[in-house]
Structure formats: structure tokens, C-alpha cells
């Protein structure tokens, strides 16, 4: 069985036409004065999904989250949760909890009281509150810190208190606003996996806002990539990476080489693209590109092979000169300058300790790739 990327997904309600949507944004627009933060956006999220909103700051992803939490009202359009229109429901009556970017821990309360806060508001009996708080403290491994105040905790511990507090009420949906933004890199990587485990364990629907694509790729079932208040693509991490539908998404996620050209010849399966200098490449995955159209061919650096001699039997091979090399240990990144001046980034894994074909600066080199290694983009 073939699949995009290296993972087979068993959880994919978005491919099931009978799956019931859980959260629906229907033509939602949000304006602040003259500024349109969210522009006529529609989006569907399924139950138990780990959904990420990814975008640069100011793209409207946080506004979307705040509308779901009830802190902002859509200017037009509607938001449904489990089939129910959320319009007019204030934040304190929504079955949704949020973990704030600043954590927003109550500084005058102990860790225990912070976690118990939402439960007490519900009017949960005292014994049950205590039980749930103990459970939550165990879940985030903070039992010894129950009596501490937030200012006596480290950043990572605070993050876990915030998490425990937001899941304590067992919300239908947990919203996470840049949940790992304030942690250092190593802690962030650990916590990503902890969050995924937690979501599995509790069986909740998570909607996370992040500007860190690695974070979104690691954790999310699906990613919505946003730009200027609009969703550019909603897809699994592998689809977003291997099959971007627009130049913006291809550029935004990971590194990419873009070849600009015109479609010279189009068959059902393949397209021949001619560059400005006449160089030709033959590609598959041409999508809706018609003959004569201006297109970009996007290909990831790790899918480009680099060699000192012209590879035998390769459909697409371009000659150039090595302009720059970055040796990163696990892999080496080459920048190859083609005859038309374009720089191609090629990445090769250092699978062997000793290279048979070492390359150096200013060497002539060939870059080659398979016809199905990239995608043709018209948008």
C-alpha cells in the first residue's frame, strides 16, 4: 500500500463522508475596525482530532481560537460545536477550555486550587474535586508541588499546571494557544509527545494554535495553514509537506526548491515544463496545469540527488556548480548554482561514515530527481 509520507493513518474521519463533524466554522468573518482578522473562513474539525492552526503571527489563528472559546464574537458566519450554534453562549457556559499562551495561572492560589478552580465553579462536591485534582496532579506528574504557588515553579511546571487546569473539567474541546511557546527547545520536544499521549489517554478533541511548523507536524492529525485570515490548505502533515496545493504552503512548510516555467506539453499523467533558459523537466503530479500555463514546480531538497557525474537513465538532471556546503552531521546541505543562476538546495543523508564521491566547493555537479518527486503548482 502506498501512502504520502512514511505513516499509515488509521484515524481519518475527514476521508469518511459519513463522519459527523464536531466543530464547524461556517463562513466566519471577524473584523476589528478596518482590519479583517478572519475572512469568510470555513473549517471542519472532527471528534478526537488533534487539529493544528499554523500560521505566521497576525494570520488570524489566535482570533479563530478566541472565537471558539467565546472571547470574540464573529462579525458574520457561525460556529457550531457538536451541532449546536455557539452564538450568544458566553465563554463561561461553553464546554470548551483553553490553555493560555501566558498560562494565566492565578498567582494568589496554590497549584491545587488552580486546578480545582473550574471544578468548584461547576458545583462539583468537595470529595470529587479532591479526587479529580489528585488525578490531574498525577497525570502531569506534579504531586509534590500541590501546595506551591505558581511563582515557585519552573516554566515547564507552570505549563503542566496550566494544562492540568484546562483538562480538569473534561471539556469537549481543549484549545491550546501556543502551548509550548515559552519552553526551551529540549523541553518543547519532550512536551510535544506528552501532549499527544495525553490527548490519546483522555480522548479529547485538541485544537492547537502554533507558529512552529515542526510542532504542528509532530503533534497534529491535520494542519490548517492560515494566511491573512484565510485557510490556505487543510491536510495531514504528510499531505501538507508532500502535496502542497499552493506556492504559499509549499514555501511556508519546510524548505523547497521552486522551478518557474511554462507547461510545454501535457499528457494525462505527465507534464513537460520548460524553464526560461530552455531547460526542460518532465514531471508527474501536474494537477490541473494545462499546456501553456505558467507554473511552479516545487521539490523538497531531500528528494534531489547530487552527484559528480551525470546519473545514468535519469529523466531530470541539471548541471551546475557547488556554491555552498553545510555539513550538519546527520546530513549535508548543498547549494548548487545552475547555468541560469538559480540556486538549488539539495540535501543528502550521511548514511555512511565514509563517502565514495566527496564533493567540494566549486565542483561541477549534477542534480537529479524522479518525475514524481515534486508537485506542480498553479496557485
Amino acid at each position: 500500500m502506498k501512502s504520502l509520507g512514511s505513516i499509515r493513518r488509521d484515524f481519518a474521519p475527514w476521508n469518511d463522508p459519513n463522519a459527523k463533524p464536531y466543530i464547524q466554522f461556517e463562513n466566519v468573518t471577524k473584523r476589528f475596525g478596518d482590519f479583517t482578522a478572519v475572512n469568510n473562513l470555513s473549517l471542519t474539525i472532527y471528534e478526537r482530532e488533534f487539529f493544528a492552526l499554523l500560521g505566521a503571527s497576525g494570520c488570524g489563528k489566535s482570533t479563530l481560537l478566541r472565537m471558539l472559546a467565546g472571547f470574540e464574537q464573529p462579525t458574520s458566519g457561525r460556529i457550531l460545536l457538536d451541532g449546536e450554534n455557539l452564538a450568544g453562549t458566553p465563554p463561561y457556559r461553553r464546554p470548551v477550555n483553553m490553555m493560555f499562551q501566558s498560562y494565566a495561572l492565578f498567582p494568589h492560589m496554590t497549584v491545587e486550587k488552580n486546578i480545582a478552580f473550574g471544578l468548584k465553579q461547576e458545583g462539583m462536591p468537595k470529595a470529587d474535586v479532591e479526587k479529580r485534582v489528585a488525578e490531574m496532579l498525577k497525570l502531569v506528574k506534579l504531586e509534590p508541588f500541590a501546595k506551591r504557588k505558581p511563582h515557585q515553579l519552573s516554566g515547564g511546571q507552570r505549563q503542566r499546571v496550566a494544562l492540568a487546569r484546562s483538562v480538569a473539567k473534561r471539556p469537549k474541546v481543549l484549545l491550546l494557544d501556543e502551548p509550548l511557546g515559552a519552553l526551551d527547545k529540549k523541553l518543547r520536544e519532550e512536551t510535544q509527545f506528552e501532549l499527544m499521549d495525553l490527548q490519546q489517554q483522555l480522548g479529547l478533541t485538541f485544537v492547537v494554535v502554533t507558529h512552529d511548523q515542526e510542532e504542528a507536524m509532530t503533534m497534529a492529525d491535520r494542519i490548517a495553514i492560515m494566511d491573512k485570515g484565510e485557510v490556505m490548505q487543510v491536510a495531514t502533515p504528510a499531505e501538507v509537506y508532500e502535496a502542497p496545493t499552493s506556492r504559499f504552503v509549499a514555501n511556508f512548510v519546510g524548505n523547497v526548491n521552486m522551478f518557474e516555467g511554462k507547461v510545454a506539453e501535457r499528457t494525462e499523467k505527465t507534464a513537460r515544463i520548460t524553464g526560461s533558459t530552455g531547460a526542460q523537466i518532465l514531471v508527474e503530479n501536474a494537477g490541473d496545469a494545462t499546456a501553456g500555463a505558467d507554473v511552479s514546480f516545487a521539490i523538497r531538497p531531500e528528494k534531489i540527488r547530487i552527484s559528480s557525474a551525470k546519473p545514468e537513465g535519469s529523466t531530470n538532471a541539471l548541471e551546475g556548480e557547488i556554491y555552498d556546503i553545510a555539513y550538519l552531521g546527520d546530513m549535508t546541505v548543498y547549494h548548487v548554482k545552475l547555468s541560469d543562476g538559480q540556486i538549488v538546495r539539495a540535501q543528502s543523508m550521511n548514511a555512511a561514515r565514509i563517502s565514495d564521491d566527496p564533493l567540494t566547493w566549486n565542483d561541477r555537479a549534477w542534480v537529479s530527481f524522479r518525475p514524481d518527486a515534486g508537485v506542480v503548482l498553479t496557485r
Partner: protein, 322 residues
């Protein structure tokens, strides 16, 4: 004297709370600390001991009007002899005459009620200011401080014009037909409350504003997110978070209000009894410097209690790093 003791608490709120406890090792560092201490020593502690000494003396028709006056011509033995004449008779006298006790109690009650009223008026103002758009806040802050540009005395006199039976307030109310008889407000405790609330409002608003403004509003959102309606969120989060500001504001109003003289004298009339006026009468009308000094020393003792509470709370707030 009350004014001098205030110099410490006025430097409150954000400024002190944020000051990092740094070790001043260099000479300049030490100088910065020494200057205010020397100032307080010369202009507060020394005068206090002079007042304290006078309070232990006896009144006399002389210049100065008490005996013994310090006279260094007699040498050490002369001074020792003078000190032997000092006694606590004046303090005993204060406990014997109920006038003084009543004046103290009335002052504390009036100051207490005024402080509460000032808090009730000041909190919404400070809250509104802290929630106003950031661009508008400096203007609002300036409006709060603006009354200080006019003399305090003139502003209190202006209230006479407003509150007197034929004053502006009564004219307005009678012309609109709300009342037919003029309200008697001037020369009552009501007038004193109005005067104190008006005069001390900025001292309440500023520390409250400073506490509310630095509060992270996402805390309130978090409380709402966890199921609190806005009013509950206010009482569970906003108000507890503003408590240092509430305490600072209340003490900044209460402490000077207890010893307030001008407002009771001008607005309260002769019927009202407050310790500041008693002190004034004792000193000027009776020319009894020793008794009035004793009144002043006792007033200071009454005020030391809230000052100590305040300093304790502030030290605790600093410990918490907030």
C-alpha cells in the same frame, strides 16, 4: 507630624514593589540611602523628640510657654535637674478628660468611614482607567492628578460655596423642584465625609490603578473560561489581585484623614469633634503646648498601628515577588 510619617508610605505600589533588593556597596550607593535617612533624622526624629519632651513638661506663662525650658547654661547637672522635672502628668490628664478620648474615637471612625467611601468611589474609577484603551490612560491619569494644581485650601473653601444652605447644590435641587427646603449639609459630618472623599480620592485611585493596570487580563479570561460569570470572576480574581492596591490606598487615605484639621474645621463647623481640631485649639486657643504635644504624640501612636500593618503587608508582597 502626620505629614512626615507619610513620606514613607507615599512611595508605594509599583515603584517599591518592583525595586530589586540590591546591595549598595559603592559609596554612591550608600549616599543614596544615607541622604533620606539624614533628612528623616533631622526633620522628623529630632522634632519628634522635642515635641515628646514638651509633652512631658508643664505649662507656664513664659516664653516658650512651658517649663522647664532646656537651658544648657547649668551644665550637665543643670540638664539632669531639668530632666527630673519631666513627668507623664499630661498623658494622665488626657485619660481623665473624656473630651480627648471622644475626639480620638470620632476621628478614627470618621476616617474609617471616609476611607470606605473613598474606596467605593475610587475603585470603579481605577478599574475603568485600567481597562481604558492604552492611548487614553495617560490622559485619564492626568485628570486624576489635575486637582493638585489648585491649592488644597481653595478647593475646600469651594465646597463651602457648594454645600451651604443657599449654596449651588441647594439652588440646583430647589430650582429643579426635587426639594423645597434647603438641605443642611454644611457643618455636619456629611460635609466632612464629602470633603475627605473629594480631597483624598487621588491617593486611593493611584495605588488601585497601579495594581489593576499591571494585572494580566488573561487571568480574568481564564476564570471565565473555567466557568466563572463576569461578577464571580471579579470577586475571585480581580479583587484579590488588587488587594495590595486596596490596602495601600486605604492607608494613604486613612492615616492623614485621622489627623485631618482643615476639612473638619472648614466644613464640619463647631459641632464636630476631631482630634486635629482639638490639637489646634489646645495649641492656639489654650496655648497649652505640653497638653497639645501629648495629644500629638498619642495621635502618632494611634497611627503607628496601621503603618506597621501596611509595612508588613508590603514586605510580604515583596517576598512573593509580585
Amino acid at each position: 507630624m502626620a505629614g512626615a510619617t507619610l513620606s514613607a508610605p507615599t512611595a508605594t505600589g509599583a515603584a517599591l514593589a518592583q525595586a530589586a533588593p540590591q546591595q549598595a556597596t559603592s559609596f554612591t550607593g550608600k549616599l543614596v540611602i544615607i541622604i533620606p535617612y539624614v533628612f528623616l533624622l533631622v526633620f522628623f526624629l529630632v522634632p519628634f523628640f522635642i515635641v515628646f519632651k514638651i509633652s512631658l513638661s508643664q505649662t507656664a506663662i513664659a516664653m516658650p510657654p512651658y517649663t522647664p525650658a532646656l537651658d544648657f547654661s547649668g551644665g550637665i547637672s543643670g540638664i539632669v535637674g531639668q530632666l527630673r522635672e519631666l513627668n507623664f502628668d499630661n498623658y494622665l490628664f488626657l485619660t481623665e478628660d473624656p473630651l480627648y478620648l471622644n475626639a480620638y474615637i470620632t476621628s478614627v471612625i470618621v476616617a474609617g468611614i471616609s476611607t470606605l467611601l473613598t474606596l467605593l468611589v475610587g475603585y470603579p474609577i481605577a478599574y475603568g482607567m485600567s481597562r481604558a484603551p492604552a492611548t487614553l490612560r495617560p490622559t485619564l491619569l492626568m485628570l486624576v492628578i489635575l486637582p493638585f494644581w489648585t491649592s488644597f485650601l481653595i478647593r475646600v473653601y469651594a465646597w463651602i460655596g457648594i454645600l451651604k444652605p443657599e449654596g449651588l447644590l441647594n439652588q440646583l435641587l430647589m430650582s429643579t423642584g426635587i426639594i423645597s427646603e434647603p438641605l443642611i449639609i454644611l457643618n455636619t459630618y456629611t460635609a466632612i465625609f464629602i470633603g475627605i472623599v473629594y480631597s483624598y480620592l487621588p491617593f486611593m485611585v493611584l495605588p488601585l490603578y497601579s495594581a489593576l493596570e499591571k494585572m494580566d487580563y488573561s487571568l480574568v479570561e481564564a476564570a471565565q473560561d473555567l466557568g466563572c460569570p463576569p461578577t464571580t470572576a471579579f470577586w475571585k480574581i480581580t479583587f484579590p489581585m488588587s488587594l495590595p492596591g486596596v490596602l495601600a490606598g486605604c492607608l494613604l487615605v486613612f492615616i492623614p484623614a485621622v489627623g485631618e484639621f482643615v476639612i473638619p474645621d472648614l466644613l464640619g463647623g463647631s459641632q464636630t469633634l476631631m482630634i486635629g481640631r482639638t490639637l489646634w485649639n489646645e495649641f492656639n486657643a489654650n496655648r497649652d503646648w505640653p497638653v497639645s504635644s501629648a495629644v500629638a504624640v498619642l495621635l502618632l501612636l494611634v497611627l503607628i498601628v496601621p503603618i506597621v500593618i501596611f509595612q508588613h503587608a508590603q514586605a510580604r508582597a515583596q517576598e512573593q515577588g509580585r
